[in-house]
Amino acid sequence: MTLLAARGLVKRFGSFTALDGVDLDLNRGERLVICGPSGSGKSTLIRCINRLEEPDAGTVVVEGIPTTDRQALRRKVGMVFQQFNLFPNLTARENIAVAPRKLLGLSRAEADARAEALLARVQLAGHADKLPSGLSGGQQQRVAIARALAMEPVLMLFDEPTSALDPEMIREVLDVMVELGQGGMSMIVVTHEMGFARRAADRIAFMDQGRIVAMAPPQQFFDAPPHPRLVRFLDNILGH
């Protein structure tokens, strides 16, 4: 069952074409990993899905949500950023509770209870009263995931969620994401963590110069890369 359908997405920055006609479908419960060289348009693509960028052409339909209402769309599509972007003046609990409280009308008690439950789910029970500055990078990113989940999204977008982390913290974040996928969450994950892609993705897309040039299930993607540029990319990234 199709959850997301993007058609003919084009995004230009000045004379530079960052997205050059991208089509993308995602089924409910599907986990898609997007990889590709720097500047290939990965971030731009997922930012067009929740309209942090306004595409110059093309359409994005997320099932059941009128695309004309950006705020409604964003409430149903969670996003996790490379730099976490937690609110530095709010505790972990408040970071998670603020949107359900202000946007969904939950009472403070209800929103706090939701926040506590999500903190436990990302293995951070007991850290509720800490400010982001008192948390490690891995912990901050898990709070950021919990914050997005608090809106009960139908789709989660991740833009290189582990690229800003020290190596020893990458695992704890990826584990949370794997579990999330196993729980049935629809996810689009921009990452170069190929171990995660192999373990958790249903399909992997390879982008180059603003297009999706290859897309395949993990086994085929790695064992019989369907595009010459992908072969080169995998050689680089896997260090062969």
Partner: protein
């Protein structure tokens, strides 16, 4: 230096000090919310917006001219427009014109210094621009304003001494009058300077106590965690 004379001067300067305090604090109470709000607004508007042009012209004028000119502008231009407010109101008006001009820049810089990622995080959750500004950006910007506003406050008090040129009988005007009547300048200057110092120092003590209380309440906590 004649300590007895200085004592007399001190007593005679207390009422004008009261006026200096009143005019400065009234101006502050208007200029700070006005300036910071306009600054925050300016940060939100495009450069080409008509309101932006007015705000920019204000800042440009205030930064580009001596306060003496700004005071005379109020003093001579208002009557030309058919307005003849009392001296006190003109004095407050001149200080507001000046100080709000600087505080616009403080407000704008503070809002613009909040990283773009904060806007995006709130937008991605479904907050619109207005709610984002109110819930997340302004609280963070506010703590970046505290220091510069404190600094502007002492600038404003010092600037109030220039109101003597429109014969407002504030501390400096009164001191001038006493020294020329008695032809004794150094003693009066010392007492006058002492009173300004006590006022400004007292205000800055209150200000830093306020700053500490804000930070104890957590409002200032986490500062710099994104600056790294």
């Amino acid at each position: 230096m004649d300590p007895v004379f200085m004592g007399q001067v001190l007593v005679r300067l207390l009422p004008p000090l009261g006026l200096t305090m009143l005019v400065s604090l009234t101006a502050l109470a208007i200029a700070t919310p006005l300036g910071l709000a306009l600054g925050a607004l300016r940060a939100e508007l495009s450069d080409k917006h008509p309101a932006s042009r007015i705000i920019d012209a204000w800042v440009f004028f205030v930064r580009g001219t001596p306060i003496l000119i700004q005071i005379f502008a109020i003093y001579f231009l208002l009557p030309k427009l058919g307005l003849q407010p009392p001296l006190f109101v003109m004095g407050v008006g001149a200080l507001v014109l000046n100080s709000a001009g600087y505080q616009i820049e403080i407000g704008r810089a503070a809002v613009q210094s909040v990283p773009r990622g904060q806007w995006e995080a709130a937008a991605a959750l479904g907050f619109d621009r207005h709610a984002t500004l109110r819930e997340f950006i302004l609280p963070q910007a506010a703590r970046r304003m505290v220091g510069p506003v404190m600094n502007e406050l002492s600038q404003l008090i010092k600037a109030s001494s220039v109101l003597s040129v429109i014969t407002l009988f504030e501390l400096h005007k009164a001191a001038e009058a006493i020294s020329s009547a008695n032809l004794r300048f150094s003693e009066v200057i010392v007492v006058e300077g002492f009173l300004y110092f006590v006022f400004i120092f007292g205000i800055s003590l209150i200000a830093s106590a306020l700053e500490r209380r804000l930070s104890a309440a957590g409002a200032l906590a986490g500062a710099g965690s994104f600056a790294r």
